[in-house]
């Protein structure tokens, strides 16, 4: 199995956390996994893009037209990285409002910012929320809810319950997209 994920967002939104969760999930399933995180300058609110490659890969970067999934924690950052998506079967899961333009890719859109503003979930968990949407709406996603829950627990047992709650809520919300 080969599956490539680009995670795009703004520094501080926790893209790196998702790289960690997905690589733990891969290892729990005995899959090979190679990813890169973004550190340094990008922590200061700049654009961030991280990669996770599950399966037999050798280079840590993802090339244009190759990603199966693009998780965009913010709309413009999703568009900025859109060229990485595979043209026919790639999916973008994006946090954006109704102004997000129509694009020629399979798009799952949710306005997570407005939900956070309505205090439906804490904004700090935006990354986990978008992962929940992914679990619910990307049929090719190689991990199950159970895999991800295990990975989240392994990563940080103390915070796990809160994160898993957000995950479930996102899956619930995804029904209404």
């Amino acid at each position: 199995m080969k599956y490539q994920v680009v995670i795009a967002g703004i520094g501080g939104q926790g893209a790196v956390f998702l790289v960690k969760v997905l690589s733990i999930a891969a290892s729990l399933k005995d899959q090979k996994c190679l990813g890169t995180e973004n550190h340094g300058m990008s922590q200061r609110g700049g654009s961030v893009s991280c990669y996770v490659k599950v399966g037999d890969f050798h280079s840590p970067a993802i090339d244009e037209g190759q990603a199966d999934l693009l998780i965009a924690l913010e709309g413009n950052e999703g568009l900025r990285n859109i060229q990485y998506l595979e043209k026919t079967k790639g999916t973008i899961i994006v946090n954006a409002d109704s102004k997000f333009p129509k694009i020629e890719y399979k798009t799952i859109k949710i306005d997570a910012f407005s939900k956070a503003r309505n205090k439906e979930f804490p904004i700090q968990a935006l990354n986990v929320y978008m992962l929940g949407i992914t679990l619910a709406r990307d049929p090719n996603f190689p991990f199950s809810l159970n895999d991800i829950e295990k990975a989240i627990k392994q990563m940080n047992a103390k915070m796990a319950a809160k994160n898993i709650e957000v995950l479930h809520q996102a899956i619930e919300d995804a029904r209404n997209i």
């Binding site: 190679l34 890169t36 995180e37 609110g45 280079s59 244009e64 568009l79 333009p101």
Partner: protein, 602 residues
């Protein structure tokens, strides 16, 4: 045992598994987590090791090098531009050699992700005549740390490990030792004046000859241990790809995915190369292409009409690899037709750029804003330095950025060259410790007239908040005393999130400057917003919002102040993003000329 590790975690763990018990260095992206993680592992496993940040890379190198002369197994870490600072020591250390072992880890940054140059430390190793290993992934970095220590011990030479950002910050499931069997060497300095204090010309001439012999012996080793075992696996294709480090992964994936036939020989040690033996392999091939980041280090060591690479304009010369660039090289040498497989259209419309910015509430922002209010742009020159505060660029408050500590010497130069302007230099506390003291002494003794602001947040914020010397040992190290010791008065200002007060302090400095005959120096006591120990008590938790009726769209806040939460909304009025505002209250004071920023009443 399998473990999911980031490259810098894998390197740190391997250092402990290789019995390194002295490590020093200076933070710099992408190398910083190596020493930081070593400290964590050291505490976790309870091993007895020296692991401290040095004031700069040269100091760190020298501490570790002396350890290795005294027989210990040591390591120094830095980023590639840090090696420039440590290079004076390295060049001589390469002649002299060592007794224990020393791994010099220098992290490169192809693609300029967070560096001012794209220099290739493998080429630096070649220049210094020390062996260098180039890992492709975290798992390989783990193994190469051990190999590097072994080579250093065997040949009594400093050995370099050169991971790039895509190794340091890559994450991979690595195979690591199950058991920790920490068994470091005892240090014992053995007097050998002819070696450790070899003087030119005779002493160094002799060591120069030894250096040549050593490199020849390492070439042999490189062939026998690292290259020859791989040769059997070559398939006999018509094209040979010579790869180094991360270049290897891109080539292998491109070959596999595009079903192109070529042999790949990865050179784990890109310097020193057994030139003749490698070239002898070429007879079986029609062409040989070298894939390496970022300089033609391997390519320059080989010669053959069959050889293609950066020097023949077949492989790209700047920026990181992509598989598209690999295919371009393949088509340049005629292996394949032009191929656009790894190309895809970018989003067509223009997207707002999102450059890195100072954090919301960062005290640096107020300082720069106040500097520009008081020392007007037209009549000033603003040299700055390397750190978070370089992002004052966004506010238009920085004119030059060169290298660590360069702000002060450049302030001297500008004050001589263009005395009609007021030079206001800024640098951080860590940079001041790193290389700000000698240029300050220079300015004081020669009476160069400029304003120097030392922005002291007592942390190396940019690279992940490593603690600085005055933070760890405040009773002994104080910037004010250091400045005074350099022979000049040091004014002091305790930052509060009240822009009016910061402006008043700048006005005070301006009057001092007017009557000064030499540098006017001030230390501004700040804090870093991300500093969990210090920031919370300093933040008033007074949040801002905008009175839309008052906002006249003057752009002052979005150009001169630039706090990230401030953006225009659809009504062309400024809006403050409540998710980003951290409640520092600073913008409520002076920033808006019509007082549109108001306090959020809860």
């Amino acid at each position: 045992m399998k473990d999911i590790l980031m490259g810098n975690d894998a390197i740190a763990l391997a250092l402990i598994h290789a019995n390194v018990d002295m490590i020093s260095g200076y933070p710099g992206t992408p190398s910083s987590e190596i020493l930081g993680n070593f400290q964590k592992f050291k505490d976790k496993f309870g091993v007895d090791a020296y692991a401290q940040w040095a004031t700069n890379e040269k100091v760190g190198f020298e501490v570790a090098y002396a350890g290795a002369i005294a027989g210990r197994t040591t390591c120094a870490t830095m980023k590639q531009v840090g090696l420039n600072v440590a290079s004076d020591a390295l060049m001589s250390a390469s002649y002299i050699g060592l007794k224990g072992a020393m791994l010099l880890i220098v992290a490169d940054d192809p693609g300029f992700h967070s560096s001012q140059t794209e220099q290739d430390s493998r080429s630096f190793a070649k220049f210094a005549k020390i062996p260098v290993l180039d890992p492709a992934t975290p798992d390989e970095a783990y193994n190469m740390v051990k190999l590097g220590i072994e080579i250093s011990k065997k040949f009594e030479t400093v050995t370099m490990l050169r991971p790039v950002m895509r190794v340091c910050h890559a994450r991979e499931i690595c195979e690591v030792d199950e058991k920790l069997d920490f068994n470091p060497q005892k240090g014992e300095f053995k007097r050998e004046i002819k070696r450790w204090a070899a003087v030119p010309p005779a002493g160094r001439f002799r060591q120069g000859l030894e250096q040549f012999e050593r490199i020849e012996a390492i070439k042999e080793y490189n062939w026998n241990e690292l290259i020859e075992p791989k040769i059997k696996k070559l398939q006999g294709a018509k094209t040979l790809c010579l790869t180094s480090g991360t270049g290897n992964g891109y080539v292998i994936e491109a070959l596999e995915e595009m079903k192109i036939e070529a042999d790949v020989l990865k050179l784990d040690m890109p310097y020193p190369l057994p030139k003749e033996k490698i070239e002898a392999l070429f007879v079986n091939y029609e062409q040989v292409i070298v894939f390496e980041e970022t300089y033609p280090c391997i390519e320059e060591q080989l010669s053959s009409p069959k050889l293609h690479g950066k020097l023949t304009n077949d492989v790209h010369k700047i920026d990181e690899f992509t598989k598209d660039k690999v295919l371009a090289a393949f088509s340049n040498v005629g292996l394949i037709e032009k191929n656009q497989f790894y190309k895809s259209a970018k989003y067509a419309d223009e997207l707002p750029v999102r450059p890195p910015n100072l954090c919301p509430g960062c005290p640096h922002r107020d300082v720069y804003y106040s500097v520009m209010k008081v020392f007007k742009k037209k009549k000033s020159i603003y040299p700055s330095d390397i750190g978070c505060y370089t992002l004052g660029l966004n506010q238009g408050a920085i004119d030059t950025v060169l290298c660590m500590g360069g702000s002060i010497s450049m302030a001297s130069g500008f004050s001589i060259a263009d005395p009609s302007k007021t030079v206001v230099a800024t640098l951080g506390d860590s940079t001041f410790m790193h290389s700000g003291v000698s240029p300050l002494i220079n300015a004081v003794y020669q009476n160069h007239k400029f304003v120097l602001l030392i922005l002291d947040n007592s942390t190396t914020a940019m690279t992940g908040r490593q603690k600085t010397p005055e933070r760890i040992n405040p009773s002994k190290i104080d910037i004010k005393k250091i400045v005074e010791g350099c022979g000049v008065e040091c004014h002091e200002y305790e930052y509060t999130p009240n822009v009016d007060k910061t402006i008043d302090f700048m006005k005070f400095l301006k009057t001092k400057y007017e009557n000064a005959t030499g540098p006017v120096v001030a230390v501004i006591r700040e804090f870093c917003i991300l500093d969990k120990e210090r920031a919370p008590e300093k933040l008033p938790q007074v949040f801002a919002e905008v009175d839309e009726d008052k906002c006249v769209e003057c752009d002052i806040c979005t150009t001169l102040y630039k706090c990230p939460p401030m953006n225009y909304n659809e009504n062309h009025k400024i809006e403050i993003d409540p998710f980003l505002c951290i409640g520092c209250s600073a913008c409520l004071d002076d920033v808006c000329p019509t007082d549109a920023f108001i306090k959020v009443e809860k």
